[in-house]
């Protein structure tokens, strides 16, 4: 695959089938940006966050997903999946990434991955 093939001016990258992510679970995507966790909740909503808790960088992908929240497996901080903010009174924020489902496939938006944006 040449570098040219990777050009995606929109920045959207196909990741996996929706069904490859367990309901109320997550998968980890290795990207040049670092690990990104893609979550799926009981309403089949999809969220993408950097796989690091703002507290001590715990892998959020390994946490328990409930509603629009994930509980970090290391010290049980709760992170809002939609905005990446820690639930009060904890304070901190994890970057989020745009993510969408098309034809049963999950796509992740990573501008920094695009050679166009990167060059």
């Amino acid at each position: 695959m040449s570098a040219h093939d990777l050009i995606d001016t929109t920045g959207w990258h196909p990741i996996c089938a929706l069904d490859a992510i367990p309901v109320l679970g997550a998968r980890v995507v290795r990207t040049p940006d670092g690990d990104v966790a893609i979550f799926r909740n009981e309403a089949d909503q999809i969220f993408a966050l950097r796989d690091a808790c703002p507290h001590k960088q715990g892998p959020l992908s390994q946490g328990i997903v409930h509603g629009q929240t994930v509980t970090c497996p290391l010290h049980a901080w709760k992170i809002d999946l939609a905005c990446g903010e820690a639930i009060a009174p904890d304070q901190g924020c994890t970057p989020t990434y745009p993510v969408r489902v098309q034809d049963g496939h999950v796509h992740l938006h990573l501008v920094s991955l695009s050679p166009v944006a990167g060059s």
């Binding site: 695959m1 093939d5 990777l6 050009i7 995606d8 990258h13 196909p14 990741i15 996996c16 069904d19 490859a20 992510i21 367990p22 309901v23 109320l24 679970g25 998968r27 980890v28 995507v29 290795r30 990207t31 040049p32 690990d35 893609i38 909740n41 009981e42 309403a43 001590k56 960088q57 715990g58 892998p59 390994q62 946490g63 328990i64 997903v65 409930h66 509603g67 929240t69 509980t71 497996p73 290391l74 010290h75 049980a76 709760k78 009174p89 904890d90 992740l108 990573l110 991955l113």
Partner: protein, 818 residues
């Protein structure tokens, strides 16, 4: 939807808490308007005492400042008193003519101080002690005057007296009763408290009835005269002879009132559009004055206002845990006792310690304590839960020792700790930080403190200390004791006991099904309740219930322990702590193959491989499986290890073959899922090299058989295992310990270790089930074996699992491709 109008009369703690609860449940339902007679936002009335004594300043005790009302879209009319309500047109009118219409009206008018009807009660210099204005007047008076007289030696009176004394006044407390605080303390405790307060310079006149407040030449009060003719000088008189529910408005508009405004279990008055909460309300004959019951009312009232309609307020049992000027005081329930009660008393005047627990039919019905109140919340819990105390009577007065052993320098009493003392050793939280958070953020409960400071939120060993700090910071506001009726988490109002019973009765087979059947408030629960529900379903309906991997903590999902850097640790099982050259060789090979950075021998007599990447887990399992090894379950709420000593096989002192029995027990219990981790040990003689005395089940070989001990713990709080029974054969050890563990599996609450479980249900209950009824013991044992039948190694299962399922693929990292 057109918003409805909610008007609240009164702007105090109970009312505003109701609004806060309502905004949490349904922020969009109402346009809210609040009338408050005082020109402030909502402040913490309980902290007026530290303001008076100079320890705190007014801005520090504000709970809801004016911004809060604005941010929540609430119209606040501060400093305006409502004078009329037209119930037919549903309009309220304030003293300045401001009107507001309502669909729902909430009365939260609080209480008024009781003013003695004596001549001179309206003189300058005569005050009640109720609000910010009173407090400021007292501070002002202390600046220029000398003699203060406080009428009434209840909590409020003593706090006022203490504050005024600290501000340099010469204070006399006058009381009609035979001893001080007679509503909260018995005669002995009252006397001890008085002695302690006298040592601080306060004076007392007991059994004195005030007849007149005498005016001086300046027009201000100058003396207090009593019925017996004597009089004492007074430049300031504080009336603290009690409070009365403020029902003036309610009576005026024709609402049914007794002592307070009568309310139903949903906090509605006789006019269903009008609610009442707080000190103005009377529920089932009781008008409450402490904060904790008022907050319970607020919760139910908000629930009803939000049209949830499931909450019922059924009354509160209250306890008083206070710090009266540095002296800890606690009382709860019927501490006076009666003809049918017994007193258990510990009294050491030299140490200033007095504890009296009142008991009827082996249940605690009341308690009063002074000096050492660390165990107050425990007695209160025993009282609330109506627990049979017969098995613990002999050491009841010595307390629960609810504190863990370590992590706080052995300190057990919070009152005298300096601010910089570390209270929570896990999260490095000092006393000062906790006090600051309580005051600064208006915290009232243990959960609040845990959320804001993290203190006691990890191992929990300092919970007792944190509770004491809460009590001494908040005084009477703090309601201790988490009863066994406490809800599982914020997603439900059901307790662990309710949930277990419902899962059994309704044949609920998965966490999701249970949440639906029990009307969970959240769509998919939370990280606290889901694992509990999953466990309850699986333990109640083995082979029938569906295990939900997403309702298990990652360690149980990945069959390995997550480490701080996101890698995992792998512990292969070594039955009874025994291994072979082949196993050791396979472990060494795997460690090299997967570049394991750290290898450690564990306390459970096996080997821990640390620092393994998640992607490698299935591979290393396959390699270890190939050498005949299986998962050690070092990660689970499950059977961990059976620790053994060498025993009669080799040891010159050994009386029994402990290694052999240990291996048999460990094989029997393989893959056992339980409320929390379970550790066993078998020692071959009473020298007890396997440390069986601190295990969930500890077996000690003696020449004539085995002694079985249960419910020990070597963790946060060292708990010595209790003797259960002595048996003769290996088979009996397996049956008795298996039956005990099955009882724990069926009755224990999730995350409750065996020591906590046995403390809750009592060892007598365990003995009754296992020793007295051979039939029940055998049934328990058979149910254990049945549920463990067909147990598979979770590693092998995962390795063999059809990799097409999303679940199995959890271990694979995805790569971005274009």
């Amino acid at each position: 939807m057109q918003k409805q109008k909610l008007v609240m009369i009164g702007n105090g703690m109970a009312g505003v808490r109701t609004l806060e609860e309502l905004l949490k449940l349904d922020p969009e339902r109402y346009d809210i308007t609040v009338f408050g007679a005082e020109p402030h936002g909502n402040y913490n009335r309980i902290l007026l005492s530290p303001v008076l004594s100079g320890e705190m300043r007014l801005p520090e005790i504000m709970l809801n400042d004016l911004d809060w009302y604005r941010d929540n879209g609430i119209t606040l009319h501060a400093g305006r008193k409502v004078v009329a309500v037209d119930r037919r047109r549903r309009v309220v009118r304030a003293d300045d003519g401001t009107e507001a219409t309502y669909d729902r009206l909430l009365l939260a008018t609080g209480s008024n101080p009781f003013i003695l009807p004596v001549p001179g009660k309206d003189l300058p210099g005569v005050l009640a002690y109720r609000d910010i204005a009173d407090t400021e007047s007292m501070i002002e008076a202390a600046r220029v005057h000398r003699h203060a007289v406080v009428i009434g030696a209840g909590l409020l009176g003593l706090e006022a007296a203490n504050g005024l004394a600290l501000r340099g006044m010469d204070v006399t407390v006058v009381h009609v009763g035979e001893w001080i605080m007679e509503r909260q303390l018995d005669r002995v405790a009252g006397g001890m408290l008085q002695l302690a307060l006298e040592a601080k310079g306060m004076k007392f006149l007991l059994q004195h009835h005030t007849s007149e407040l005498v005016q001086g030449e300046s027009g201000r009060v100058a003396a207090v005269r009593f019925k017996d003719g004597i009089s004492i000088p007074a430049d300031l008189v504080v009336m603290a002879a009690g409070i009365r529910p403020n029902t003036d408005l309610a009576r005026q508009i024709g609402l049914q009132c007794n002592r307070g405004v009568l309310v139903s279990d949903t906090l509605q008055t006789f006019d269903p559009a009008i609610y009442a909460v707080g000190e103005c309300a009377e529920h089932r004959g009781v008008a409450y004055g402490l904060v904790a019951p008022l907050f319970e009312q607020a919760k139910v009232c908000a629930n009803h206002l939000a049209h949830f309609g499931i909450g019922r307020y059924t009354g509160s049992v209250t306890s008083t845990k206070l710090k009266v000027t540095g002296i800890d005081v606690f009382s709860a329930g019927n501490f006076e006792g009666g003809d049918d009660t017994e007193d258990i008393v510990l009294h050491d005047p030299g140490l200033g310690v007095y504890k009296r627990v009142v008991v009827r039919d082996n249940r605690v019905v009341g308690a009063v304590m002074i000096g050492d109140t660390a165990d107050g919340s425990w007695y209160f819990k025993l009282l609330k839960d109506q627990q049979d105390i017969h098995p613990i009577r002999d050491h009841l007065l010595f307390g629960q020792n609810g504190l863990g052993d370590v992590g706080h320098k052995g300190e057990t009493l919070a009152a005298n700790l300096p601010d910089e003392a570390e209270v929570c050793g896990c999260n490095g939280v000092c006393k000062g930080a906790i006090v600051k958070a309580i005051k600064g953020n208006g915290l009232f409960t243990l959960d609040d403190v845990r959320k804001h400071t993290k203190a006691s939120s990890s191992c929990g060993s300092c919970t007792g200390l944190v509770e004491q700090i809460l009590a001494s910071t908040l005084g009477g506001a703090y309601q201790t004791a988490q009863s066994k009726d406490k809800p599982v988490c914020g997603c439900t109002d059901h307790s662990h006991g309710d949930v277990r019973a419902a899962i059994k009765a309704q044949h609920l087979l998965s966490a999701l099904q249970a949440m639906k059947a029990l009307q969970w408030k959240t769509p998919s629960g939370c990280a606290t309740c889901r694992p509990a529900l999953n466990y309850y379903c699986l333990s109640t309906w083995p082979h029938e219930a569906t295990d939900d991997p997403q309702s298990r903590f990652i360690n149980e999902r990945a069959h390995a322990n997550i480490q701080k850097d996101g890698t995992y640790s792998v512990v292969p099982r070594m039955w009874g702590g025994l291994t072979t050259p082949g196993e050791l060789r396979a472990i060494a090979d795997a460690a090299e193959k997967y570049a394991v950075p750290t290898i450690k021998v564990t306390g459970g007599q096996r080997i821990d491989l640390l620092g393994i990447r998640k992607d490698d887990l299935p591979k290393i399992w396959a390699d270890l499986n190939a050498a005949g090894m299986v998962s050690g379950h070092a990660y689970g709420k499950s059977i961990r290890t059976v620790k053994t000593c060498v025993g009669a096989e080799h040891c010159r002192f050994g009386t029994q073959r402990s290694m052999d029995l240990g291996v048999k027990l460990e094989k029997m219990l393989f893959d056992m899922y339980s409320p929390h981790k379970v550790k066993l040990a078998v020692s071959g003689c009473p020298r007890n090299c396997a440390e069986a005395g601190i295990k969930d089940v500890g077996v000690i070989g003696v020449d004539s058989g085995y002694e079985i001990y249960v419910a020990g713990n070597g963790g946060i709080k060292t708990e010595v295992a209790q003797f259960l029974v002595k048996v003769k054969s290996d088979e009996e050890v397996m049956e008795y310990s298996g039956a005990f563990l099955q009882l724990y599996r069926e009755e224990g609450w999730y995350l409750e270790r065996t020591c906590h479980y046995v403390e809750r249900v009592g060892l007598d209950h365990v003995k009754a089930e296992i020793l007295e009824h051979a039939e029940r013991r055998r049934e328990l044992f058979e149910r254990l074996l049945a549920s463990l039948r067909g147990a598979k190694d979770p590693w092998a299962e995962r390795v063999e699992a059809e990799r097409a399922t999303a679940l199995a693929r959890e271990f694979e990292t995805l790569e971005v491709s274009a």
